[in-house]
Structures are given as structure tokens and as C-alpha cells.
């Protein structure tokens, strides 16, 4: 992995259970989407087209299921002295640095599939809508303690706007 997106820091990776959650999520959402499109298409199009759509949908689903593991391995976060680094992405890589002092709130959310695996998602809110800092697939206990650490660090280092 390029050094540009993982500067030297204590990088934390996501648990492999999250890859399973992501695969499952991709599978369910894609199959539903494919089914809806296919059903809608068969009213307007010839059968060969509908079969083509189904095949394309299944192919896309397979692709996402295969990629899920790699995407989860690409995700990393690092707590540094003054900011939190988040990196992810396979094709479109990115590294976001959010200073603790800029965080307005830190939320923990957990959907039904994630809960079944005991995972939770951490959402970081800054004054900017573009920051979009989130760390998915953390073990729930880890998410809660990370949230508390981030809030404490944010209070300690609050930066004036």
C-alpha cells in the first residue's frame, strides 16, 4: 500500500467479521435491486434483455462479494496525538485526517446485520459536511471506548472555529 495513504502511525484494522457483514449486505441489497430491475424490465423488454440484466446483476453482486474482503482489509484508522486518520479504498483511495479538536460529536450506530455480529459503526461529525468520517465494523466494545477516547480528546484539544 502506498505510503501516501498510510503515513507511519499505529494503524488499526477492522475485524474480519466485518467482511462477512459487508458480503452479506452486498448480497442482500444487490439481489433485491436486481430482482426489482428485472421484474420491471420484463414488462418493457424482450426476454433476452431481461436475462442479460439478471446476469449483469449477479455478476455485479459476485464482484462486490469478492471485493468486500479486500475493501475491509484496505480500511484502517490511526489515533495520533492530535488527529484521527482514516484510510480506505481500493480504486479510489483516500486518507482523511480529522483533528480531535474539530469533532463536534461522535456517534455509534449499529444496524441489524451488524448487531448480529456484535459490530457497530462510529460516525464522526465535524462542522463540514464533506468530512464524512466514519469507521464501520468495529466490535461494539471497541467502538464505545474509541468514542469515549475521541470525545475526551476533542474536549481537551477543542480548536476555535
Amino acid at each position: 500500500m502506498s505510503d501516501l495513504f498510510t503515513p507511519t502511525a499505529d494503524w488499526q484494522r477492522l475485524p474480519s467479521a466485518y467482511a462477512t457483514v459487508r458480503r452479506l449486505g452486498a448480497l442482500v441489497s444487490n439481489l433485491i435491486a436486481t430482482a426489482i430491475v428485472a421484474v420491471a424490465a420484463q414488462f418493457f423488454l424482450e426476454w433476452p434483455w431481461v436475462i442479460g440484466i439478471v446476469v449483469a446483476g449477479l455478476g455485479w453482486t459476485l464482484w462486490r462479494v469478492i471485493r468486500a474482503g479486500r475493501w475491509v482489509r484496505s480500511f484502517g484508522y490511526a489515533e495520533r496525538a492530535e488527529d484521527l486518520l482514516i484510510t480506505h479504498g481500493l480504486w479510489n483511495r483516500q486518507l482523511t485526517a480529522i483533528p480531535y479538536g474539530r469533532m463536534l460529536s461522535v456517534n455509534v450506530e449499529s444496524g441489524p446485520i451488524e448487531r448480529a455480529w456484535g459490530l457497530a459503526k462510529l460516525q464522526l461529525v465535524t462542522a463540514s459536511v464533506h468530512s464524512a468520517g466514519h469507521i464501520p465494523g468495529l466490535p461494539q466494545a471497541e467502538a464505545a471506548s474509541l468514542r469515549d477516547r475521541l470525545i475526551a480528546a476533542g474536549e481537551a484539544q477543542a480548536l476555535p472555529l
Binding site: 483516500q94 486518507l95 482523511t96 485526517a97 463536534l104 465535524t126 462542522a127 472555529l161
Partner: protein, 526 residues
Amino acid sequence: MTASPVPPPPTGPDPDRPDPLVEPGPHNPTDDRRHEVTERPHPLTPFIRGWVVLLAVIVAFGRDYLPIGRDPQPLPPLEVIFSAVGVVALASGIAGYFSWRFTRFVIDAEVLRIDSGVVFRRSQRVGFDKVQSIDVVQPLAARLFGLAELQIDVGSHDRPRLRYLTRTRAYALRDYLLARAKGVQAEAADHVESTSVLVDLGAQDEVLVRVAAQVLLLAAVTSHEFWVILATGVVAAVVGIAFNLPWLMLVIAIPTASTLVGFVGRRVTSQFNYTLSQRAHGLRISRGLTSLTSQSLPPRRVQAVQISQSPLWRWLGLYRIDLEVIGWGQVTDNEEKTGVSTILLPAGTLDQVRVALRAIWPRADFEAVQLHRAPARARWLHPLAQPFLRWGHDDSLVVSRHGWLVRRWQVVPHARIQSVRVAQGIASRSLTLANLEFHTAGGQIAPHAAGLDAAHVLQRQEELLRLVHHPAPVDLTEPPTSAELSESQTAIGGGDSDNSASGVRDQAGPDARRADQADDTISSSE
């Protein structure tokens, strides 16, 4: 000059100049904290607020009796009309009187209170430490009667409004409230200023930038928006010719022409007589032909600045400056809005750009930032923009330049950056390029730098992240200290920029800061 709680008579032959209203100046809040200033809206207020409704009613009912299209209905007997009009007039008059009677604006030692409502009483309190800025807005109807509305910016989108007051009274009250918001207890003496119909300028104000109507017109006609509208019309017309549909030409030509006229008209009227001025309590922008708006500009809340230049403006040397100001909502692209606008400079020369930016950030010089070119291979991703792409930063500002049709300069102080992102798409990676994004509150200007050398970004990364935390220890919006003042005096004229005269800030420092620190809560609510 009399602090009279007694309202002026509800009806008067001369609505322009009712009683000498309450002057807040003479009373001194330091020695009399219990003293309240009570202010009532102008008696004409209900009529001005209701004239749109009245017009709608007349149109809705009158349409049936006009000989348009179908045969008009026979007019009802005259007595019926008169009695109907009489009843409506009486009812609205009574309603208006009571709404006027029950509305009052009270200024006491701590808060501004707005009481209103007859049946459902509503009392709104605005703490002086929450006041960010105060704008004077004069919609057309109010303006015809010499009235104005005060909009108090407390950082939220829902602005407490005082409407309507006489123009001079509105300006005086605005200055008074601003002074109170800055924690100034002693009051400036000269409230009676030369406020003309077209501008909001006092004698002691210093004009920094003024844009003539001709420049606005020229800028509107040469702007890319104008040409986009025109090009759309022309393309549609060509399609019409190609398909041999001459009637289509007409169908296209009329809306295109009216859109163009409307666009130019809006640009000119909304920014008519644009004046950026420096007053004792901060910067002020006043503008508008049909509705005059006078808005305060709090430099401390400016998050990001974008200077843009339409293609034809390159030959004319014109630029436009947009601001991202926390709590001001959307960056203005529709100039129709009468209220607050995020345009710092509708169209101006490079010198005016410098003056305007110097006014909000006296300590920053965006031109002094050393800029780096994009590597030649960025041409593959940005074929037309590559020669123009630049980015750079010093220890207080980040500056980037991009765009090929419309050129944009984006300037963000490190101290306003919420987070930094390095991004690299699959094409960028094969070219070892990277993009930088600087996230600011609000986030509509979205400052970014594209097509950078990845190695260069890597080298700068740590530095950038450090600067978000530890920007240069100067506040860009602070006026230079007296030592620096002497050298910069010629450049920015007064030297005292930002929120207050330098003498005032020293004594009122904590209070002045307090008003600014409300920003934290503002951003969180966005």
C-alpha cells in the same frame, strides 16, 4: 431624544417621518441598568406586510370581472362592493392595529426582547452576546414609505426581525445594538447620520470598494452564465431550423430573451450601488436598487473565499468573490434574494479584490503564498486546466487555483479547515498524482487542489496536518498592531478593520470574543 414608551399615533398624515422615536444614545446603560428602551414598529407596518396578500386578493377576485377571455361577470351592485371593501378594510385595519399594538421591541440591560402576537403571544429574546451581525433590509414596499427592517443574525437561519422602522431609526438602532453586542456600554454620540435613500453610509464610514452599475452590467453580459443561457437558446434554435420548425424559433426566442433580460436585471438591480465600507463596528456591505440591503460582514466567521473569473472577464480584468460564512446558509447563486448574500464582490478589478480580501483578513496576503505548478502529466487528467492549476500554502493560508472555463481561486485559512483529505483515483494512481481536499464548515465552496504530484503531497502531508492544529499564531481577522499599522495604513486605509475600533477591542475584548465564540454552537447545528 426622548425615551418615550408612548407609541406614536397609529395614523398620521406623514408616514415618512413620525415622531422622533426613542433615541437610545442619551441614556447610558452603565449608570442605569434598569433602563429599558421600548420601540414599536412603525404604524404602517401591517399594511406593508399585508400588501402582497391584498394584491393577491384583488387579483383573485377582480379577475372574474375583467373582460379577459370569457365574458366578464356582471359587476355586483355598487353598495355590495363598497360594503365588502369597507368590511375587509375595517377588519384588516383592526387586525393590523392590534398586531401593531401588541408588537414591541424592548432593549434592556441584557437582552433584546421582541413581543408580538395578539392571541398567541410570542416573546423572543436575543441576548446581546449572541448577536453576530445585524442587517438592514428594505424591500420595495417598505422602501416606498421610507421604512426598513432589521434582521438580527444570531447564527441560525431563523433570524429575529424587527419590522418595520423608519430608515434613520433602523440605522440608529442597528448601530446601537451592534455596539451593545460588542460589549460597548458607552454609546457613540452621533446617531443621526447622513442616511440617504440609496446607500447606508455615515460620515465616518470609509468606502473600501464601490462597484458602478456600468461595471455590473458589463460583468453580467460577459459572465459565463449569460453565455450559457444564450448558447442553450441558440442550440435549440438551430435544432428548430434543422427540423424545419419555424414556430419553434419563436417558442425558444421569447423565453430565452426574457431569461437573459431577467438575469442581467437581477445582477444589476440586486448589486446596484454595491458598497463595501468600513465603519467603527465592522465591515458593511450595502447594495440593491429596488430593495436596499445593508449587511454586516463578520470576518471571523468567514470560512473560505472563492474568487472566480468567467472566460470573458479575463480580458476585462474582472473578478467575483464569494464567501462561505458560517450561519449564512447557502452560498448565493441566485441574486434575487433580498436578504443576506454571500457575495463579497459582485464584479471588480484585481485591486478591488485585494482591498476586499484585505478588509476581511488584514493579516493575510493570498498573493504572497508560494504556489506550485501541477506536473505536466496532469494534462492527461485535466487537459485544459493543467496550465492553470496551482496550489500552495504558507503558515496561515491554503490557496488553490483550478478551472479551465471559469477560473477559480480558493483561499482557506488553516485555522478554518475542519479536516484534510488526500484522494487518489485509479487514473491518478497510474500517473502518480493526487488530489487534496480541504473541508470547511458549510462546505459549498469545497476548496480543493487537483492534479498534484503524489510525492509532493507526501512531502507536505505532515506539515499540512500540523498547520490545521497549529496555524500561524496570528488571527487573520485581527487588525495589525499599531507597530504594523503604520506600514499597512496606506494599503487598507483605516487600519482598523474587523469588528471594532482597536481602542474598543482592548477594553471589550472578552465580550467581543464571546460573540464570536458562539460559532462553535452554530456550526454544530448545521
